[in-house]
């Protein structure tokens, strides 16, 4: 397997409505920034891999067809990945595979969502015949899982609030973040409306327009880039939506994926060896849940990491220095932003939200009913 590194990263300015750009303009904003970061042009790229969540969000069926020329893909292979919420991560992994398999030298990968083209809440909950009635929207699916987690772990109720405040403060240091709440505090979160009890408004993610892009390159094609983020390992795992006895709070697919990921990178003590992680947390309570799922904490103790401050910027395992999905959520791109932010950390290019001296970082994405997982580890040093 050939070595692969991230040599260019670009994001859009994420916002609730990017009314100033077309769909092509949105993806090009990220792609051109990634190319500029790598010191390359479209002609230097061998293939393009694009990802996004359901086509019904924008009403363009298989939009890679329309976006091919906008991304300089003419005459090249182009692929379109869709694995629900994990798609941004899965897309980056498919792109990395093209390099690792020796098929291509340089691959441009892009993920996007322009949720303002439709109402995403609506798109997620259409009246489809013969299905069990959808009675509560997306939060209604995840809120009972949070309640189950709280019951199982005995976590104190303020954990969700603490995560929200931490991520929202981190977002203030990220120039691309969508939701900026300078006056955030425990009290502000606690007093925000209880949407899907036990989930409050400020413990949920926004709906964003945005795109992220990366240039991935083989070892002999780094060009002038001297601070590549090396892909140490990547993994995906999927499990069924629901079956008798399925653990929805701590799904095995996530646990297996993390274990295989660590094994692939030679990581034996993830909590100690991984310096920073960008984890897909659309509802604040998912931080402690994923801490356990990813093996950073023993079962039922993930919340202690949050309360002890371990996951804050000054802790020993900062989680979501970028502000995370809680601050920016262009669904199809959210996973790729996690992967890209992890790469920015080990490249030392994260600016005001840089974790000093980060050498190994994790990008994490999940989707569906907590059933699709995509993860990678990137490193400052060549493996």
């Amino acid at each position: 397997m050939n070595r692969c590194a991230v040599i260019g990263i670009g994001q859009t300015r994420h916002a609730a409505k990017r009314d100033d750009v077309s769909l092509a303009g949105l993806v090009r904003e990220a792609a051109l920034r990634a190319l500029a970061d790598a010191g390359l042009g479209f002609s230097d790229i061998d293939a393009v891999v694009i990802g996004k969540a359901p086509d019904t969000f924008e009403g363009v069926m298989m939009p890679e067809l329309y976006l091919a020329d906008a991304l300089g893909a003419v005459g090249k292979p182009m692929m379109r990945v869709h694995t629900a919420g994990s798609v941004g991560g899965s897309t980056a992994i498919v792109a990395a595979h093209l390099v690792q398999a020796g098929v291509h030298k340089r691959v441009l990968t892009v993920a996007f969502e322009k949720q303002s083209e439709s109402e995403a809440m609506w798109a997620l909950s259409p009246k489809f015949p013969f299905q069990p009635p959808l009675l509560a929207g997306a939060g209604g699916y995840f809120a009972p899982l949070v309640r189950s987690y709280i019951r199982r772990s005995g976590a104190p109720p303020e954990v969700g609030i603490k995560v929200s405040v931490k991520d929202r403060k981190n977002a203030l240091k990220n120039p691309y973040a969508h939701l900026l709440l300078p006056d955030i505090s425990d009290e502000v979160v606690e007093k925000s409306p209880m949407l899907w009890d036990p989930i409050r408004y400020l413990e949920t993610c926004p709906s964003s327009d945005g795109a992220a892009a990366m240039v991935l390159a083989a070892e002999d094609s780094l060009g002038g880039v001297t601070n590549p983020a090396w892909v140490l390992a990547s993994e995906v795992r999927s499990e069924p939506t629901m079956f008798a006895g399925r653990d929805q709070v701590n799904p095995r697919a996530g646990r297996d994926c993390a274990k295989a990921l660590y094994a692939g990178a030679g990581i034996t003590e993830p909590r100690r060896q991984i310096d920073v992680a960008e984890v897909y947390v659309p509802f604040s309570w998912f931080e402690p849940m994923w801490m356990e799922n990813l093996g950073f904490a023993p079962e039922n103790e993930g919340w202690r990491l949050t309360l002890d401050g371990a996951t804050s910027m000054t802790g020993d395992l900062p989680i979501n220095p970028s502000g995370g999905v809680l601050s920016t959520n262009p669904i199809g791109a959210s996973g790729m932003i996690r992967f890209a932010e992890a790469a920015m950390q080990v490249r030392g290019t994260a600016g005001a939200h840089q974790v000093d001296g980060a050498k190994i970082a994790m990008g994490h994405a999940y989707g569906g009913a907590s059933q699709f997982f995509a993860m990678w580890l990137v490193g400052r040093d060549k493996p």
């Binding site: 013969f130 069990p132 949407l195």
Partner: protein, 160 residues
């Protein structure tokens, strides 16, 4: 004329004709008669309500035999919905719960008609049927508390 064009509306409307498939059709036909049933996985012996095409865990088709299940069950988890969303018809706030029917091995989501403050994990509930039955799970109006003692956590902790 007026200022520069920066956006426009592009309405889309298509009508699809969706088949339920035999598995779902059989179950919904029973629901339309006010009856529930489950089907068992021949490999792991778990009972699915509503029945699925295959046991997602084992990948095998479920046995065709229609097993009766009770209309009583246990709330395994729930949330209180305080926010309206597109297409929602319930009066706020209301309780949306995962309910494990007695005799079934998989919970399914439905409404609990009770004061939100009175709903707990482990609450015992019973289905109440709508006056207008049809081939939809909305034929069950909601679940209501039975008044029995709560189920112990151990009785449903494998279903979270």
């Amino acid at each position: 004329m007026s200022g520069p064009v920066t956006r426009f509306k592009s309405p889309v409307r298509f009508v699809f004709d969706v088949p339920a498939g035999p598995t779902v059709s059989r179950f919904l036909a029973a629901v339309a008669e006010g009856r529930l049933f489950g089907q068992r996985c021949p490999t792991c012996a778990k009972v699915y309500v509503p029945p699925k095409v295959a046991c997602p865990r084992c990948g095998d088709p479920l046995s065709p035999e229609q097993l009766p299940v009770k209309e009583t069950g246990t709330v395994t988890s729930f949330c209180v919905v305080n926010v309206p969303y597109e297409g929602q018809t319930m009066k706020l706030p209301y309780v949306y719960a995962s309910i494990l029917l007695d005799g079934a091995d998989i919970p399914f989501p439905h409404l609990v008609d009770a004061e939100p403050a009175d709903v707990r994990m482990g609450l015992r509930v019973r289905a109440t049927w709508s006056d207008a039955l049809g081939p939809t799970l909305e034929s069950i109006r909601a679940f209501v508390p039975t008044g029995e003692p709560d189920a112990p956590f151990d009785a449903y902790k494998e279903h979270l």
